[in-house]
């Protein structure tokens, strides 16, 4: 059994580190942070997302691929060649770690859509890329795109997150933002693709929780062309965020008011203008409301967002020090990398924490 053939909820640990000035730092830090929360995962999945890690290829989509076989690799490369200009391809560097076994073939491609194909599709570039990702993941057997954004990458595997970090030599990457995930699934996953972060284009999500709205959300989002192949919460949350942000043009704050909407009793007491907006969002995007426990950290180009469910049924702490912002399931995971914090707080349920690069981008 692998992800996608059954519904796989899980409990977890999450962590995120962000430099608002865009100062790049090594992946070592995020490994250190997530390691502290070893008890919150059970060795059945760990992973990281790094932003600003490919400055030399920042204008190209970085596809990270898992292949089950050489046949799948060959078939996928033919697909990529038909749709993209492949600027560079290589194995993703790894090191042997005794705890990490059964690895698939792990490859990385820097690509840009072929102008003719793109024009022919009548889609904007990002939609074209997203469609290709869905195409590969649903039609090429044994091939799986697990990262597809620009100047960012996801690294994940079955194992404890600290072992996964060492396996991928994460300390050799430098970025302005890293997120991490340690997984405690309630079913046995047999597959690396099911680990977190889950990513589409530059959006990546690490998530702790088990959402009760899953099938309502899944059936709603699949209507808009998304295909939930993994049957995990993280997958559907990523698609909802992509849909609301990229396709519908909602701001991140508005997205928080949709997916972790304030209660009607709260909305009732807001000033008229805000009340109208919040009511509009809850009505227009009712199917994107997420209920049940979750804490998520969303990475995207130039920013990071953290959000708890509306009742705050999962722990999540934020710490700040100078230009650095730390977010983790437990305060200890922040203190281990920055003991002298300017400010530490626990965001309320439904209160989004949004950090952006000063000046917009690196």
């Amino acid at each position: 059994m692998r992800e996608g053939q059954f519904r796989n909820p899980s409990g977890c640990a999450i962590s995120g580190i962000f430099s608002k000035t865009g100062r790049r730092f090594s992946g070592e830090k995020i490994i250190k942070s997530i390691t502290v929360m070893h008890e919150r995962s059970n060795g059945l999945g760990g992973g990281f997302a790094g932003y600003g890690i490919y400055p030399e290829y920042k204008d190209f989509y970085a596809f990270h691929m898992f292949y089950d076989s050489m046949t799948a690799k060959k078939e996928n490369e033919e697909f990529l060649e038909r749709h993209f200009d492949i600027i560079n391809l290589s194995k993703i560097p790894t090191r042997k770690v005794p705890q990490i076994t059964d690895e698939p073939l792990i490859w990385r491609y820097f690509v840009t859509p072929l102008p003719t194909k793109l024009a022919e599709s009548q889609l904007d570039e990002r939609e074209f890329v997203a469609k290709c990702v869905f195409k590969i993941n649903t039609t090429i057997k044994g091939a799986y795109v697990f990262s597809s954004g620009k100047n960012m990458g996801v690294f994940k595997a079955v194992g404890f997150p600290e072992d996964v970090g060492r396996f991928y030599r994460l300390e050799e990457y430098e970025g302005y933002c890293f997120t991490a995930h340690g997984r405690y699934p309630t079913n046995t996953p047999g597959w690396w693709g099911g680990a977190h972060p889950f990513a589409l284009l530059d959006y990546s999500v690490v998530h702790n929780g088990e959402i009760s709205s899953y099938d309502a959300n899944r059936r709603a989002i699949e209507m808009y062309g998304y295909k939930c192949t993994l049957k995990t919460d993280t997958e559907v949350i990523t698609y909802i965020i992509d849909y609301l942000h990229r396709k519908k043009g909602l701001t991140l704050n508005e997205i928080c008011s949709v997916i972790a909407a304030p209660f009607w009793s709260t909305i009732e007491n807001k000033p008229p203008e805000e009340k109208e907006t919040l009511t509009y969002l809850r009505n227009a995007f009712a199917s994107q409301l997420i209920t049940g426990p979750f804490s998520i950290i969303v990475g995207f180009e130039g920013g990071m967002m953290a959000l708890n469910d509306r009742l705050k049924l999962r722990s999540m702490v934020v710490g700040e020090k100078d230009d650095m912002v730390y977010i983790a399931s437990e305060e200890a995971a922040i203190r281990i990398v920055e003991s002298d914090l300017d400010r530490v707080w626990s965001p309320k349920g439904g209160e989004g924490v949004i950090v952006m690069l000063e000046g917009g981008s690196v």
């Binding site: 959300n217 808009y224 049940g292």
Partner: protein, 501 residues
């Protein structure tokens, strides 16, 4: 002829030790079952006239009465039931179509009873509605296809007209004429107090009830009785009735003897004339015609009211619903084959249509497959019997449910299924003044409010158990459902897994 003498289905059993000959039963029975014999100072009953409505039983001060099923029987026959035989005698005598009332009573599967709900354990917490907010508010209507912002970047309210409800329940269409003034008043006042809507049915809106307009759905049916501009504009929403679950494919007939006084005025037809609703709308012979009526009604109300199109659940309901969703309708109401009626030909009621659970599941799926589920809301009825049915319907994909029979039961209906006789002893399905006044709207509306308040509590408890604290997260959440004793095909249509999977 002797063949037509049939032993009654029910017997009125009177305990003479308890009977004090107060003659309440005699006064209460509009069917004239009970009779007082002065010489013997004794009450007797003609069982043949009894419809088993329990009015006399309920009002007997000494509990001297009960109604029992007759044990008189035909020779046993697995093919020819007593019911079938009696129906033949009746028709051989009358030459007429058999008439019935209320919903299909036959032994077809009730899918709601073969579906079980989920609850949270360990991996996510259940939520206690007594301690945490638990939301049941719903909106009905189309969702905007794209967002718009003003020059300051503020979101514009570009929602089309919609209905706001405190909980996903509305009272379904029951006309003034088929039910009484007091029944209508009870429904209207209950809807207002509960923050939901009731539905006029096709009999027009009595002038006294215009004040409940913001809690009213006005219906436009094939007879167009009582339809005028003020009627349309008085309401919160307009419903075009294309069909009814109890009698798909046929119209309606309110006999002239019920068209008296206010009923005549409200329907805008002369006293004593039969009110005949044709089977189809004679200006709607296809989907493009429906679109014209939808937009005519929207024009007449300056695009301020959502339009509901109500259809009976029939075999190709999914394709029909898809057509309606593209016709400008804001809400589709689907009525299952168990839906009630004031009168329908028995054969139609008992043999035409589809179970609402299957119709709902296939419509919801089809609209999603076609990417148009956001353009309409779905309301289902026929028959919703409890809060559990509502939770299951919403999880299958409904936005809201209609209740008719359940509301009448709350008002005192005992489901004797004799509405078509017009002699309702409970003052509900009658226009006889002496009977109508038996239903006190001050009590009636309160009982409706009580019932739905109780249901709302139960809905919240079930949602909380599933770890869901707002009803929109339940909508279409089919993973919360499991089937028991259903075959592969049934599970496939319902889009749910079997229990244990």
């Amino acid at each position: 002829m002797a063949i037509e003498y049939l032993y009654p289905d029910y017997e009125v059993k009177r305990d003479y030790d308890r009977c004090i000959v107060c003659r309440v039963c005699e006064r209460q029975c509009a069917n004239e079952v009970h009779e007082y014999l002065p010489e013997q100072n004794k009450m007797v009953a003609d069982d043949a006239k009894c419809v088993n409505c329990h009015r006399c039983v309920s009002l007997c001060p000494t509990r001297a009465l009960k109604i029992v099923k007759s044990d008189h029987t035909f020779k046993e026959n697995a093919n020819w039931s007593g019911k079938s035989i009696k129906e033949i005698y009746k028709q051989a005598g009358s030459g007429g179509v058999l008439l019935s009332s209320m919903g299909n009573p036959e032994n077809f599967p009730v899918y709601f009873d073969k579906i079980l709900l989920n609850a949270s354990q360990v991996t996510n917490p259940s939520i206690d509605p007594l301690r945490e907010p638990m939301e049941t508010k719903v909106f009905l209507g189309a969702k905007p296809q794209k967002i718009e912002r003003d020059e300051n970047g503020k979101l514009k309210n570009n929602l089309s007209p919609h209905i706001t409800l405190s909980m996903p329940v509305m009272f379904s269409a029951m006309s003034y004429g088929s039910i009484s003034y007091n029944a209508h008043e009870s429904l209207a006042r209950a809807a207002e107090e509960l923050g939901i809507l009731y539905n006029t049915g096709e009999g027009g809106l009595h002038e006294d009830f215009y004040k409940y307009g913001k809690n009213t759905i006005v219906q436009v049916a094939s007879g167009r009785f009582g339809v005028h501009k003020d009627y349309l504009n008085s309401a919160a929403a307009i419903e075009i009735k294309m069909g009814q679950g109890a009698k798909p494919g046929i119209g309606g007939h309110l006999p002239g003897k019920k068209i008296v006084g206010d009923v005549s005025r409200t329907r805008m037809i002369p006293e004593g004339s039969d009110a005949i609703s044709p089977a189809p709308h004679h200006d709607i012979y296809s989907i493009e015609d429906l679109r014209q009526l939808v937009y005519s009604l929207k024009e007449a109300t300056a695009y301020t009211k959502p339009v509901i199109v109500k259809i009976a659940a029939v075999h190709n309901v999914a394709a029909i619903a898809s057509g309606i969703a593209r016709s400008g309708a804001d809400v589709i109401a689907i009525d299952g084959f168990r839906g009630g009626t004031g009168a329908a030909p028995t054969r139609i009621r008992d043999h035409v249509g589809l179970p609402i659970e299957l119709a709902l599941a296939s419509v919801d799926k089809r609209l999603r497959d076609e990417g148009i589920r956001d353009r309409v809301s779905i309301v289902v009825g026929g028959s919703i019997r409890s809060s559990a049915d509502i939770v299951k319907a919403v999880a299958l994909g409904a936005d809201c449910v209609y209740i008719g029979t359940a509301a009448l039961l709350a008002l005192g209906c005992h489901l004797c299924r004799s509405c078509h006789t017009g002699k309702c002893n409970w003052g509900i399905a009658t226009q006889r003044e002496d009977l109508v006044k038996r239903l006190n709207p001050n009590i009636g509306y309160k009982r409706l409010v009580n019932m739905l308040t109780a249901w709302q509590h139960e809905i919240k408890e079930m949602m909380g158990g599933m770890g869901i604290n707002s009803i929109e997260s339940l909508k279409g959440n089919r993973l919360m459902l499991r089937g028991v004793g259903l075959n592969e095909k049934e599970l496939e249509i319902l889009g749910i897994k079997h229990a244990g999977e």
